[in-house]
Each structure stands twice: as C-alpha cells, then as structure tokens.
C-alpha cells in the first residue's frame, strides 16, 4: 500500500442494513496516475467512490487528503477539497444551455453578481476546446444534447473546478469508440497535469490501454491492488469474477447460435427507404429468430430509427411493413399490440422506481389488447412473472421488493422480462448491456440467443463492436443517420469500427 496519495481511504467500511457493502478497504489515489477500479455490479465500487467523495459517510475507517485526516459531510465538502465525481447518468438542467450547465457551480460559488450568457458561451467554448471538444455549441439547450455528448458536458463541468482527484464512474459505458478515445485523451492530459484519476469501467481492454494501476473489488473486499503491468488482464478477470466463473469461456456458444438461418421465413419487420428525425433512407428487414445487430457511433441515429418504428416518433417518408402488412404506429402502445417491444437505453426511462419488481415486470402486459377495466388475473400473471424470472434469472429477494433495490444488471433483466410479457415477435434492444458487469453481460448475451432460438426476432443496438460481432447474424452499420454497411456474421471488429466512421468500401461489407 503506497502512502502519501492525494486521497487515501483507510479501512473504509460501509454497511446498509445487515449488508456490508464495503469491508475495510484501503484505497489510494496517486498524483498523476490513472487507477482503474474494477469489479462486478454489487462488488462495492460505487459505494467506495461514494464514501470517498462525500456521498456516503463510511461507518468505519478514515479519509486523508494530502495526508491530513478529513471528514466529508456532503459531496460539496469533497468538491471543496478538490475531489470531483463524474456520474454515469449525469443530472442536467435540461432547459438551460450547455454553457450554463458547465458553469453551474458558479451558482454555488459566486464570483460575480451577474450572469452573462454571451461571455459564458465564449468561456465554455474555450474550455471545451481545451478538452478537444469542438463540435458542441455551448449555446445549445441541454435537452437537445444526446447521450455521449452529455457525458462530455458532465466531464467538462467537473473539470471547471480544477479538481486534484477525479472519479469517473463508467464514463464510457454509453460512448462509442471514437468518443471513448477522445475521452481517454482528455484523461491522459489531466494525468499529465498531475490530477489523480480513478476510472470505474467494465471494458477491460480500454482500461488497460489507459490505466497505470488496477484495483479489483469483490463482495465488498479489495481483492487485488497492483500496477497494471504486474496484473495481466487474465488475472484481473479471475479476480473480478471469482475463480469458478472465469474458467468458463464467455463466448463458447458463438458458433452454434449463428448456425440458425431464417431466410425462408417472412420478415417480421421491413423498412423501405424510411426517413424521419435523425435518419434518412433507411431500409432493413428482420426475420423471425434472427439477431440483427445495429452498430454505429452514439448519436448516429440508431435509437431514432427504433423510436420511429415503435411510433414514438414519426416517419416523414418511406414504408414500413409488419409481418408483410403496411403499418404506421401512432404510439408504442400500437407497436406492442402488433408484437413489437422496445427496451430503451438507460434505465431511467424504463424502470418504475417507486414500484415493486413484480409491478415492473407486469407493466408489459398492460398494453396489449387489454381492456383497462379487466380485472388483473393474478394467478396467470404471477405464473408468467415467475416464468420470466426463472428464464432470466432475475436476482431479487421476492417479487414484492422495490425495483429500486435491485442492482443495475438485474434492473436490466427486469426490463427484458417486461418486454417479453407482451409476447413480442420482435424485440428491439437499445444498448441492453450498457453499464452492466462482465458476468451479467454474458448472461444477457446468452439470453438474447435463447430468445432468438425461440423464434423471436431481435434487433440489437450496441456501441460495442465486440458484442455485435459476437451476437449478430447480420450487422447494419449506421453513420450520420444512414445505413452505410451491412456486414455478415464473418465480419471483424475492424470492419464494424471502420464502417461506423463512414468508411464504406471495406472488405466484409456484403453490399
């Protein structure tokens, strides 16, 4: 254990009820170094970050800033001590501009009495440029800024305070490759300026590209703490997953799942030259039992296509056929009625946080052909919930516990269960493995294959080239609102990535 870090946690312990989420953990953030914090969901990473940044008060243990003991009563205390946290799902003032969001802290730490939008935009633009972000207009309202760029705004906001310690909680979970590299360039720049950076992430390859030091958490304990050069990826995975799981290769079923061909069956969904908000001239077809991947950079227009299909946005031209019949859905309720379910990206748009697990799953059965006043058939629905739970191995103490008590991966499964509750013929999954840990991710992949094997058509949107390649029988690559390539199952990660950047004439493209 090194000493004399910018921020030291000593013997940090945190209990929630009877559960010890953090068990006597020592953690040091060193000046000018990037430390990776790895572990499955529920391993205690977030709790550790929360305890070191004032969001939680540890039950036991001490915190030292530059060797001096401190006590944070709030995140604000930590901020004043130079500790900044970039959260996975940033909270923004949606009606305000990007610049106002970046300089939000000025409302807290008043430097002047006035607030000038013009000079603020200028300063924000300069600040963003210094981070290598030059395509984001600071005068834009935040509500028009999509996933990845929101993350960059959040990071820009954290850096305004010139923190000496920066925690990044899965900053690249929703970022495409390009944005990730841009983000990492920013992190390297900060490291070179002497900032101590802690990166919580699930993407090991990228972590190793960037990090100097690796810390692995498991079940609330720190199980590994070493220089990146001294801890090969293979060993890190073993520490993360525990011995037994690591012995089973994750992608063992790839060949078998891909063998299924569905060419002879009529497509569930066909789009013919459709255009709409954020996309142009898109044509595709998906057959029963087929897993069609949709790759591309974040913001390329993939989600927009899906939203238009389910009726949450409008097509401006083109034709959509569902099971061979022309359709236009006026709302997702229509789409569900015709057998198309959508699992949105980001759990915030999907989970009923105030309700039970059971409620969350059953909600999927309340759209399709159900006259509202019909009495809930408790037995039938309960059986269906149990089936779905068993099928998805949702880990909840009971269907009656609150959905907000589940971990991210289990909440994701809950959404799968809900989408399946209406017995869809087509399941549209928007970044279903976003921010969930390695073990749950492979389970999710397995589940997607099983559903396809049952004959459900899967439209799988992901920013991770690896998982697209692993799962999809065909991959459509979207770039700036158009489908620029259709890749076969034999395509490589490189093909996906290069076409995502709009390089069309690459080997591997079928047309």
């Amino acid at each position: 254990m090194q000493t004399g870090g910018l921020l030291d946690g000593r013997g940090l312990t945190k209990r929630f009820g009877g559960v010890t989420a953090l068990n006597e953990v020592d953690f040091t953030v060193q000046q000018g170094k990037v430390t990776a914090l790895l572990g499955e969901n529920g391993a205690g990473k977030s709790t550790l970050v929360a305890c070191m940044s004032g969001a939680h008060r540890p039950d036991d243990g001490a915190l030292l800033v530059n060797g001096l003991p401190v006590r944070f009563r709030s995140p604000d205390d930590a901020r004043r001590a130079g500790i900044a946290v970039v959260h996975q799902e940033p909270q923004m003032l949606e009606a305000q501009t990007v610049a106002a969001n970046i300089y939000l802290s000025q409302l807290a730490y008043r430097r002047s009495w006035t607030w000038s939008a013009g000079s603020l935009n200028e300063r924000a633009a300069r600040h963003l440029r210094s981070l290598g972000i030059d395509d984001l207009d600071p005068g834009r309202p935040m509500s028009t800024v999509a996933g990845a760029q929101r993350q960059l705004v959040e990071i820009a906001r954290a850096l305004i305070q010139q923190p000496s310690v920066l925690f990044l909680d899965e900053p690249n979970a929703s970022l495409g490759e390009e944005e990730t590299h841009r983000l990492f360039a920013v992190v390297r720049e900060l490291r070179d300026r002497g900032v101590g950076v802690v990166l919580v992430s699930h993407r090991l390859r990228e972590v190793y590209e960037l990090c100097d030091h690796i810390v692995v958490m498991r079940d609330g304990f720190k199980v590994a703490d070493d220089a990146a050069s001294a801890l090969p990826i293979r060993d890190a995975v073993r520490f993360i997953m525990g011995e037994e799981k690591a012995l089973h290769p994750v992608a063992s079923t790839r060949a078998s799942s891909k063998s299924r061909r569905a060419d002879d069956e009529a497509p569930v969904l066909e789009l013919e030259h459709v255009s709409g908000p954020g996309f142009r001239d898109v044509s595709l077809s998906i057959r029963p039992g087929e897993i069609v991947g949709m790759a591309g950079l974040v913001g390329a227009g993939r989600t927009e296509i899906a939203l238009a299909v389910i009726g949450a946005a409008r097509f401006t031209s083109g034709r959509m056929l569902v099971a061979g019949r022309p359709e236009r859905f006026r709302s997702p309720a229509d789409a569900v009625r015709r057998g198309i379910s959508f699992v949105p990206e980001g759990r915030r748009d999907a989970v009923f946080y105030g309700q039970s697990v059971e409620f969350n799953v059953r909600a999927g059965m309340w759209g399709r052909r159900t006259p509202g006043v019909r009495r809930l058939r408790a037995n039938e629905a309960n059986r269906r919930v149990r089936e779905l739970f068993a099928q998805l191995s949702v880990k909840a103490a009971s269907p009656r516990v609150g959905a907000s008590t589940l971990s991210g991966g289990n909440q994701q499964k809950l959404l799968f269960a809900r989408a399946l509750g209406s017995r869809p013929r087509l399941l549209i999954l928007d970044e279903p493995t976003h921010g969930i840990d390695v073990g749950v991710k492979s389970e999710t992949h397995e589940l997607i294959r099983e559903l396809a094997a049952e004959g459900i058509a899967i439209w799988f949107i992901s920013s991770e080239a690896e998982e697209i390649i692993e799962l999809a029988q065909r991959t459509l690559v979207v770039h700036q609102g158009r489908i620029v390539a259709e890749l076969s199952a034999e395509a490589s990660i490189g093909d996906v990535v290069t076409s995502s950047f709009g390089e069309v004439e690459h080997a591997g493209a079928m047309r």
């Binding site: 309700q355 409620f359 999927g364 309340w366 009971s398």
Partner: protein
Amino acid sequence: MEPPVATTPPLDEQPVPTPPPAGAEVMSPPLRRVRGLLQGWGSELVVAAVIVVLSVLIGLAQPVFFSTENLLNIIQSVAVVGIAAIGATFIVISANLDLSVGSTISLCGLVCAIAMQHGLSFVPAIGVALLAGAGVGLVNGLIVTIGRVNSFIVTLGMMSAIEGLALLITGGHPEPMPDSTAWLGQSNVGPVPISVIALLGITAGAQLFLSYTIAGKRITAIGDNYRAAYLSGIPVRTTTVLSFIIGGATAAFAGVLQASSLANAQPNAGAGMVLTIVAGVIIGGTSLMGGRGSVIGTLLGATLLGVMSNAFVLLALNPEIQVISVGAVVIAAALFDQWRLRRGG
C-alpha cells in the same frame, strides 16, 4: 425468487437501509404475510394511528366524542369532500392535480337540480350530473394530454371557468332540490346515514379498481414514470384522461350528495373545498410526485380532517385556529411523504 448461484451474491451497489430481505426468509408464512401487509400500508396505518390517538385525547376531554351519534356525524360530515377526494386520488397518483374539483361539485349539483326541474326523476338526473362531471374531466384530460399543458394550470383555469358557468346558468341563485331527493343526503339505514354508506361503498369500489384492474395499475405506472409507461406500450394518454374522468365523476356525485343534503343546489356549493380535498389526498399518503397512494388512505385523510373539525366544535375552540391547523397538517403530511421517499420506504 430462487437464490442465485453462489458465485454472484445478490449484493446491490446501494441497498436500501431497511432490514435485508434475508430476514424475511426465515419468518413463518403467516407472519410474513402480516409484515407484507404492514409494509404495503405503512402510511395508512400512520394516519389511522394519528386518528386513534387524537380521538382518545379528544374523548378524554369530551366523552361525548365517542357517542355513536357523534362518530357517525363525523363521517357524514366528510362524505362530500371524501367522495370527491377519492376521484382526486386517481388524478394525483397519475402525477397530475385537479384544482377544478370544487367548481365541478357546484356545477354538477346544479345540473342535477335543473335536470329534475325539466322532469327527470332523481336517479336519471344523477346520471346526467355524473355525465356532466365526467365531461369536465374529459375536457381537463384532453387539454392536459393533447395540449401537453401542465394540469395545475389547466385545472386552475377550469376552476374559474366552471365557477363562472355555474353562476351564469343560475344567475347566482340556488336551485331547489325536490323532496324526493332528500333520502340520499338526509336519511339513514338504521343509525347509519346513506351518505356514509355511499362514501364507504365508493371507497371500497375505487380501492379495488386501483389495486385489481389493469386500468388502475396503468394509472400508477404513468404517475411513477411516464416515459417508461409510454415506451412499454401503456396507452398513457387514454389513462391520463381516464383518471380525470374518474375525478370529474366522483366530484359530480359529491355535488349531488351535497345538494341533496342541503335540499338545494348552490352555485358556490363547492367553493373552498379544493384545499380540503387535496389535503385529504395528501394526508392519506398519496404522493404528489405520483405513482403511489391509496383510496383507503384518502378516506383516512378526510376522516382525520373531520375529526379535527369535530374537535374544534366539541372543545369550543377558535375556528380560525382550525383553518391554520389544516394547513399545518397538510404540510406535515407532505414532509412525511418526502421523508419516506428519502428513506426509500
């Protein structure tokens, strides 16, 4: 559910600081049922406990409080407000608000009286009044959903518009209710007033509707997370409109009941009731953030307000203090709601 494989314990990153579910596993089934019941009805039990404690205190000072007559009197006094509050509960659970409920009460009482002056008998006239109330709810709901206007401002405007309408059609004068209508608001079955039976019956029906129909669950879903409900295929607009229609219809029935018990329908019968109605809903544990609440809670909330006002009469306290105390109780209920949200219960 089935315990997970041993290698991945179901530890959550941020578990709620309530006793762990593991504790529930070792309890005997009946005990677990009782506990489950208590957990689901926590805020209702708190309100019930407050009512009991308050009643005991009042009863100690004025033993007449506990006479059957007085207790029935209390419930009867909250019947009008309580019935309207039941419908309002649905609107609040769907994360909206209906400030026009008081004006709707006035208008629909008048509609009933005027319909009878045009030759309808009482029961069909009630039907016409309910249609009028449902119509007000329909308009509110359509403006909120299609026009995408905040329900607070829509129903604030509607409150004034309907109040004006009621004055316009009557010229400001009360409309008499025929004697044939008196049974609803003024008579008893044994010792129990019909209005009390109506209140309890509507409470039971509405609670069953909320808990055991898909429409009821949809209302909870859109209040908890509107976007999630929309994307998972729940007809969010229809559901929102439905909650306003229910609110309008119960307000209409409350208006008829009020007119029947006063033997005439007054154009300002419901004026000032809106605070009491919303107060009853909030005190009953329904969250203003939507997604959580119960009809039984609302009944208890309204009853608590009835007990308070009864106490002021029995103890001969200053009525102005009652107005202040109602405000204080509403704010206390809202604080309690927030405290519970933070606690994660």
